[in-house]
């Protein structure tokens, strides 16, 4: 050190030490602030990501594109086998399509007979994946749609086929999707056809764990896993994947979404499920002062009575 420095060391060194100390204190304060008031700092983080990452697009897009091209080139080698496999699958799909059409018609008929009302129709916003989480221990992606597109925290995200994750953190023009594989991800699911309810818990591996299954013997590898509407987290019935057993005989889910390459994601606009919280009130005749505030068209007979009382 003595070799590097010049003669003015005696003055600058204590000053430098003070500045380093101040820097350390600021960082410590920042960490404490993050720990104590996490939501505020996370909002700040979302705002910064929102500002920074879209501007990096010019740098990131070419590399991503090149990588995709290289991947595509590599897959040329397996083109013939892929083609054969696709033909076989197409054959099977035709059979399934026929079955699905018949079932759809049957379903429509039955629903018409039942006067059944399904969930309010789900609409969706599609977005492009812009960036990764950047850390090997966090599994999330950044989408290029945000609050200005009406995205809200907690909405489900699919890749068209299977569930991918949910929105966690919304900026003005970007939003972060917490993937099902993240350690913080917990999703209520139903295992079909046994109807067992369980929690899908991410653990940083490609296949998340199934936890809290009531009767394990009813669950078999290959069973379908769909989201359940429990807790109002997600719309019910979104395909998640298939049950699989890992080496330690634990239940995991092989995800239906193609996690290898997430490019276009679909965010489902879900309305909060209406909740019935009170046990129900006594049915009493409507009182005049409170009924006066109600819209006249809502309850025609009382509305007329109120008008009469006023006039």
């Amino acid at each position: 050190m003595a070799r590097d420095r010049r003669g003015d060391d005696i003055y600058t060194r204590p000053l430098r030490r003070i500045l380093i100390g101040a820097l350390a204190l600021i960082l410590l304060g920042l960490f404490l602030l993050w720990r104590i008031d996490s939501p505020r700092v996370e909002r700040l983080r979302v705002a910064i990501v929102d500002r920074v990452v879209p501007n990096l697009d010019w740098a990131m897009a070419p590399i991503t594109r090149l990588y995709a091209m290289a991947e595509g080139f590599r897959s040329y080698a397996a083109l013939y086998e892929q083609n054969q496999e696709l033909r076989r699958e197409l054959q099977q799909m035709r059979a399934w399509k026929e079955a699905a059409l018949q079932l759809e018609q049957q379903n429509a008929k039955l629903m018409a007979q039942n006067q059944l009302r399904l969930d309010p129709k789900l609409t969706s916003v599609s977005g492009v994946v812009m960036a990764d989480s950047g850390s090997p221990f966090r599994q999330s992606v950044l989408l290029n749609v945000g609050a200005s597109d009406g995205i809200q925290d907690g909405w489900a995200t699919t890749d068209g086929l299977g569930l991918v994750g949910r929105i966690s953190g919304v900026g003005e023009t970007t939003s972060r999707v917490l993937l099902l594989t993240d350690v913080a991800s917990r999703i209520p699911v139903i295992i079909q056809p046994s109807g067992q309810r369980a929690i899908l818990a991410g653990d940083n591996s490609a296949a998340p764990l199934i936890e809290f299954v009531e009767s394990l013997e009813k669950v078999r590898p290959g069973d379908r896993v769909v989201s359940s509407g429990d807790g109002g987290v997600f719309p019910a019935g979104l395909l998640v994947g298939q049950v699989a057993l890992d080496r330690n005989k634990r239940l995991r889910v092989r995800l239906a979404a193609d996690y290898e390459r997430l490019t276009f994601l679909r965010v489902l606009r879900s309305r909060p499920i209406e909740r019935i919280t009170d046990p129900g009130d006594l049915v009493v005749p409507p009182q005049v002062p409170s009924a006066a505030g109600a819209p006249a068209g809502a309850i025609p007979p009382t509305g007329k009575g109120v008008e009469g009382a006023d006039g």
């Binding site: 050190m1 003595a2 070799r3 590097d4 380093i20 820097l23 350390a24 960082l27 410590l28 304060g29 920042l30 960490f31 602030l33 993050w34 720990r35 700092v41 983080r45 910064i48 990501v49 920074v52 990452v53 990096l56 740098a59 990131m60 590399i63 991503t64 990588y67 994946v129 812009m130 960036a131 990764d132 989480s133 950047g134 850390s135 090997p136 221990f137 966090r138 599994q139 999330s140 992606v141 950044l142 993937l179 594989t181 350690v183 913080a184 940083n204 591996s205 490609a206 996690y259 290898e260 390459r261 997430l262 490019t263």
Partner: protein
Amino acid sequence: MVDPRLASRLAHRAAYLVLAAVLIVLRLLPLSTQPSAWPLPDLLLCLTLAWLLRRPDHVPALSIVAVLLIEDLLTLRPVGLWPLIILSVTEILRSRSSGLRDLPFVVEWMVVAGAVFLAGLIDWVVLALALAPQVGLGPTMVQAALTVMAYPAVVAALAVLLGIRRIGDTDAPTRRRLT
């Protein structure tokens, strides 16, 4: 006229910032969203330590902190803790860098390994004490080990690409390479 030594120093400081930005952007690229079985080595930490032990004047504490803080914000880490730990580590190493320069590379490597593991351990312990959500100690240590293994490669890359070598005296080769 601008002092050439000062100009070279400023250029190298800028080079550190640019390289760090490139590393961060590379990690943000959505190449594969599948969780990987092995965590990638923390190349940014390698770069910082290697550069620091060769030319401490090129990586002032302020740029280290700025780079790590931005990395914190962009990669969803707890804000402030990792820069604080690395700031302390680099300050300790900075004060010993001139002594380390005269020792064989293996000794430097061991010192860096100790620093990386210690930093990972402190980070884990503090987060555990603060009851903050985090990954287990295992993956953190695996990443530290991979980071230590990547260190010689980063050192070699620094020497080849930017001519930043381990030398007793300061400026001669760097200046020759720059001009």
